[in-house]
Amino acid sequence: MLRPVKMSRVVVAGSKNVIAPVVEKLHELRLLHIVNYNGSQPSFEMGKPIGKAKEYSEDLIKLRSVTRYLDIKNKAPEKTYAESQILSEMDNLLNNVGADITATFERITAIDAEVKTKQDQAKALTPLAVLPLPLDAYYGYDSLATFVGTAASAVDADVARVSPVNEIYSGSAKNATFVAVFVPIEKAGDVSAVLSEHGFSETSVPKLEGNVDSAIATLEGSVKSLEGEKAPLQKKLTDMKKQYEDLMLATDEYLSMQTQKTEAPLRFAETANAFVIDGWVPTDEFSRLKSELESAAGGKVDVQLIDDKEAEDLVEKGEDVPTKIDNPSLVKPYELVTRLFAIPEYKEFDPSLLIFIFFPIMFGMILGDIGYGVMSLLVLLMLKKKFRTDGWQQLINIVMIASVWSIIFGIFFGEIFGPLGLWGRIMGHMSEHELEAAKHAGLYFGEGVFGSLGRIGFWGIDIFPMDRLATNAVLLLIGTSIFIGVIHCSVGSIFGIMTELNYGEKKHAYFERLPVMLFQVFFAITLLGLVMGQMMMVYIGAIVIVVSIVMNVMGPEGAMGLAHVPSYVSNLISYLRLLAIGLASVGLAYAANQLAFYVIMPMLSGGATNSAEFSIPAIIVGILVLFAVHFINFLLGILSPFMHPLRLHYVEMFTKFYSAHGGGVEYSPFGHVRKFLKA
């Protein structure tokens, strides 16, 4: 749980005759994390693909291009297929259906291109409408140069100066003058220079016939008919997507599996007659791997366990031991948080269990409201059905467990949609006979929800439910937050010490990790001593703090280690966010309740003081405001209690023990998890 699964290094060697059944079996077992052969041994070559590797990859490319046309993305399977079914339908799917889809898609692309050209032409033609010329007058001359475009000022006089023989038409449209200038071709250069002085910019005239308006009308007509052709084609693609989506994904899966298998020998070492596979397997699965492989290959394969010492040497030489994280199903979602940061190295701790313990408590302590907790549980239950991918499910499970904690803390804090309960606010406004009715219906629990329960607590301090906005509660929570921080950081430090010892780095363990823990624990004890007025605790704390700083200086970093000391304190202060963000959310909830029940409702009812006198519109407006503010607070109340404990784990805790030696390699055994294919 706290440590990755123990792995063993194995070597599988066998005759080349049995390479296919061995690969098949390995793929089915999904146990061996293959170490790729790098070609470093002169007597071994890299393996070559077996079977129809080329055909499979060609088919895969064909299929992928078709799925791209249909815009098919990976999704949760609706139905599964047997391999035989895939085999019988694959040919038809790849050739006939594939060709049909490709042709349809290409036609749509062609239509889009044509529509674009026609629309551009129509756009270019529109300004020509101001000139009194038919379209075929603009092109087809041997001895004339044509200039058509916009000009900033009148060009007639200047053109006539350089080319006495000319024909000029002009018209104005949309604050620009449009000109068409025809001059003898040998004057083209001069005229062009003159025109550019007038800010002339040329327009290209499409080679069409007839007058401008009718040409535009023709273009628009053909655009319309092209679009008419496109719509049914698009519908056809949508229908085909619906029909073939799952089959295509299943075929993709089948082909990927086959390529994986046929190309597997590329990762093996080979001689003329034999192959060797290096890999890692979970230690307690070794005997299963051995017996299954031997029976699959009819004894023509040798599966050997390499003893730990030799394996250690391989690791020294740079081989990575794959990390297989294994946690009970309740803790599993929290692996997401671990993974987001980094995969632990084989010798490091897997912090998922710690996140499972601390994260929901922190979330609960920040949100701490029965109403919001229940709301988020309900919302998440709905989302759980909608978002079916693994990542989302894990995320939703994390927040669901956290919501349960927020309900528990809500009971401690006495909050239902705000301090002392929205419920209590509503009850507080009831008139005598309404109260009687509520009592009769069993809905009245006294002043506030907890009124009838009285105060609860321990060690003779009856503080719950407490009002988080009260001064005493804030002070208590400041202390609690810092002490949670001390525990959190200390657990991290203990893990850090153990990790360093695992790597055999005693000096780092005792003079780098241990002082941090001593400092933080005794800093907290000193603070406690100051608050309680126990000077003995203060003295002991101060002495140990000094000792820890001295130890730090004696450590591997020397005097530079002093630079870290302020961060030990800031780490602890950082946990104040547990209180601070909670206060912000209570504050907003409190404000919402106050605003609705004590400001808006009485004001709109003309200064009424009793809920019985509230007018109906006032109550409606009040409830709307209540909903809006609580909704915003609810959204923030899910987001920040999630982000901040995450940060406390990543920054304050993980840095104490995690990834000090770089990220690990995740255990990914050779094989495939079937999604669309039946096993």
């Binding site: 993974r339 987001l340 940061f341 980094a342 001064t471 804030v474 002070l475 400041i478 800031s570 202060i573 950082s574 104040l576 966010r577 601070a580 982000m643 901040h644 995450l646 940060r647 990543y650 920054v651």
Partner: protein
């Protein structure tokens, strides 16, 4: 000794100080996170696997605002030099 301010004014000044402490620290944290955030978004667009580490880096300056908040809390709740004259 002359009276320089009455209790209410002192308490008000404490509150202003507390507000400034949190507010200015917030601005500082924001300025710090701005640059890191932009860089992280850029990297994550290229390589989604960096999200966790990016988040870690982005959240580092967050501590600043908590320092400001700690000062505010001390001012408002735990600092008592005027406790004899200030009654909130």
């Amino acid at each position: 000794m002359a009276v320089v301010a009455d209790a209410g004014t002192l308490y008000g000044l404490l509150a202003v100080g507390a507000g400034l402490a949190t507010g200015l620290a917030g601005i500082g944290a924001g300025v710090g996170e701005q640059g890191i955030g932009a860089a992280v978004v850029g990297v994550v667009a290229e390589e989604p696997g960096f999200l966790g580490k990016g988040l870690f880096l982005m959240l580092l300056p967050e501590t600043l605002i908590i320092f400001g908040l700690a000062v505010s809390l001390i001012l408002m709740f735990a600092w008592t030099p005027f406790s004899g004259i200030v009654t909130p």
